[in-house]
């Protein structure tokens, strides 16, 4: 008796008892759809974190003044309040570190901005002309300020979309006047809208001016709090990190056992940490859903065991008219595999539908993962074989004489 015949026999047996088959499948359907939906949520979160980081730029490095807090202990020389990062340091990095392509300082001045009869309070950030390239943030309207503007500390300003909307409603802000702390600036560009970040902060509520202007005209000091450095490639970020550290330690004349008075951080590290977090979350969700899949599998075993007892007479008949034990075993095994695979297929459809519905109704991003689908199919087949084997063996081991006499 070939496999096709046995599959037919198994199908007929299942079709004969549709209600029981449907209830058995329910466990697997819920399990598989839960796994797919949970993994989709996890992957969606992961992807959105990834996209966020990508939008900042993965070959980005942060150089900040002051040492890192290690284990809550403040170390280093910044205790005096000195900010040890200078524009000269940044120029040196740009000049001497080959794996670095672009550098911009970032100095913030919280300011009141006035345009005509409108006013707005925001951070005016002093940066170099390379800032849009480093942060991969294009200018939507007008242009960013230039190298010459930085050198001459020109009073030019580039604003974010939120400022453009609030200070110049209905008009083109390019070429308009903007007073920052009572100093007149000229708006030269509007940055492309970015929307909210993950914490819900408005990323378009910003204004950028040449760092020279901010340092001299708004802050009155020339220290740099933080600088963004762009490595030539993502792979070069680690090289850049160590080369910058070495260079700055040299320039700051630190001996080998002195801690650094600055911090160089690597965006790739940040990205990996975030990735790690969302991966853990995905695994956790999948595990919880996996438990329901396991429970579904046990449900199949339960029903199959009951089914073997209930169909003892049928098994006796089949054996009496010439079914080998192996044919009976295969029949029951295939019945359980068919149940779990059909349940799995329905579960996949339901899981994908759920994954597509979740962003719409709960607002969480989801990403349907092929891995989760393939995984659930394999898992449900495995569940069918594993939990079907024992009942199938029990059926095959029945004695035809006893089975025929069973009432």
């Amino acid at each position: 008796m070939n496999l096709l015949m046995i599959i037919r026999v198994a199908f007929r047996a299942l079709v004969r008892n549709k209600m029981r088959a449907a209830l058995t499948m329910l466990g697997i359907i819920i399990g598989v759809s839960a796994v797919i939906a949970m993994v989709s949520i996890g992957q969606g979160a992961s992807a959105s974190v990834q996209a966020q980081i990508e939008s900042i730029g993965t070959n980005l490095l942060f150089v900040s003044a002051g040492a890192q807090n290690v284990g809550g202990v403040r170390s280093g020389t910044q205790d005096t309040g000195n900010q040890n990062l200078t524009v000269d340091d940044l120029d040196a990095i740009k000049r001497e570190v080959p794996s670095v392509s672009m550098v911009t300082p970032s100095v913030n001045a919280r300011s009141q901005l006035v345009a005509g009869n409108m006013n707005w309070n925001t951070n005016v950030t002093g940066v170099s002309e390379q800032y849009p390239d480093i942060r991969k943030w294009p200018v939507a309207n007008g242009s960013f300020f230039t190298d010459a503007d930085v050198r001459t500390a020109a009073r030019v300003i580039v604003i974010g979309q939120t400022l453009a909307d609030n200070l110049y409603p209905g008009t083109d802000p390019i070429g308009q006047d903007l007073r920052v702390m009572n100093l007149p600036f000229r708006v030269v560009g509007v940055l492309a809208a970015k929307g909210q970040d993950q914490q819900g902060r408005d990323q378009d509520d910003v204004a950028f001016a040449p760092f020279t202007t901010v340092q001299k005209k708004l802050l009155g000091r020339d220290r740099v709090q933080i600088a963004y450095v762009s490595a030539i490639t993502q792979d070069a970020t680690y090289t850049a990190q160590s080369q910058i550290t070495e260079l700055l330690r040299q320039r700051h004349k630190l001996s080998a056992n002195e801690p650094s008075d600055f911090t160089v951080r690597n965006m790739t590290d940040v990205a990996e940490a975030a990735n790690e977090t969302s991966k853990t979350m995905t695994i956790l969700l999948a595990c919880i859903a996996g438990v329901s899949l396991l429970v579904g599998g046990i449900g199949i075993m339960n029903i199959m065991l009951v089914s073997v007892t209930e169909r003892t007479r049928e098994i006796g008949i089949r054996m009496a008219i010439g079914a080998r034990s192996s044919a009976v075993r295969s029949q029951f095994l295939i019945e359980s595999i068919v149940l779990s695979l059909t349940g799995g297929a329905i579960g996949i459809v339901l899981g994908v539908v759920l994954s597509l519905a979740i962003p719409r109704f709960l607002g969480w991003p989801t990403l349907v993962s092929t891995m989760a689908i393939v995984g659930s199919v394999l898992f449900s087949a495995a569940v069918g074989i594993f939990f079907g084997y024992y009942p199938a063996r029990k059926a095959a081991s029945l004695d035809p004489i006893e089975a025929l006499r069973y009432e």
Binding site: M1, A320, A323, R324, I401
Partner: protein, 275 residues
């Protein structure tokens, strides 16, 4: 008394013509000193104590005996559902007494047709599919299966009932489906275990008529287990068991003729009269 019984050449029964005369009697069943012992707890039960028996091709044999006489055990051994503890059993030229479970399953599939007291049809399964089942296990292709099942159902007078499920058929009709099922693989032997036990007397005669017809027209070897004397009288030979041994083995001089009796019986219900 437990010696091999030589069987006389087949005699023509009065009024019933043999379709194909049997030139020389060929043994289908040869039991030689069969013993069967069951162990129940620590008590040994000797169900069969040395049974020897030969049944030739084309014979219609009834096995009788009280319960505990060993007739059911003999039936199980004849049907290759069980193995003898001692002794040899040659079925259709093959020694089946030492065969494994799987080999016996194959033998049952190819050489034996079963008809049970409780009909033992698969529920929620059409008559046609029930009859197709033994061919499924033999690996017969779908078209042949279908064709042979329809033919077998027609032979037992159930043409047109192919799609009925057992719960839509009367007891007699269900038993006829079972007979059709036992026929389809062209077995060397049909074993009927109390086939009329659950049937009323008219339906019993109908089923016996089918058995007699299959035996006379197709030369099918039939072994019928029953405890009813009047049912055994339809057979050509009656073997009586007692205490695990054969008590008597004799030919029936004038077996009852079911077809004749049916003509004289009043038709009660019945929507299934045969042509």
């Amino acid at each position: 008394m437990s010696t091999t019984f030589a069987v006389e050449p087949q005699e023509l029964q009065p009024g019933v013509a043999l379709a194909t005369p049997v030139p020389e009697a060929r043994p289908v069943i040869q039991l030689d000193h069969i013993h069967k012992t069951y162990t129940m707890g620590d008590v040994e039960v000797h169900a069969l104590r040395g049974v020897s028996l030969t049944i030739n091709e084309g014979e219609f044999v009834a096995i009788m005996g009280a319960s505990g006489s060993g007739k059911s055990t003999t039936m199980n051994i004849l049907g290759c559902l069980d193995r003898p503890t001692r002794g040899t059993y040659i079925l259709d030229g093959e020694d089946v007494s030492e065969m494994s479970k799987d080999e016996r399953a194959d033998i049952r599939c190819q050489k034996i047709g079963f008809v049970f007291q409780g009909f033992n049809l698969l529920s929620r399964t059409s008559a046609l599919e029930n009859v197709e089942l033994p061919m499924l296990y033999l690996g017969v292709d779908a078209a042949t299966r279908h064709e042979r099942a329809i033919e077998a159902l027609a032979a037992v007078g159930l043409a047109g009932r192919e799609q009925n499920h057992p719960n839509q058929l009367s007891g007699g009709q269900q038993q006829r489906v079972a007979v059709a099922r036992s026929l389809v693989n062209h077995p060397a032997l049909i074993l009927a275990d109390e086939p009329t036990g659950n049937l009323d007397s008219r339906t019993s005669v109908e089923v016996m008529e089918i058995f007699q017809r299959l035996n006379r027209e197709r030369g099918i070897t039939l072994v019928l287990v029953t405890h009813e004397k009047d049912i055994a009288e339809y057979a050509d030979r009656v073997i009586v068991f007692k205490d695990g041994k054969i008590k008597s083995d004799h030919r029936v001089e004038h077996p009852r003729n079911a077809a004749e009796e049916l003509k004289n019986l009043p038709v009660i219900d019945d929507d299934d009269e045969e042509e």
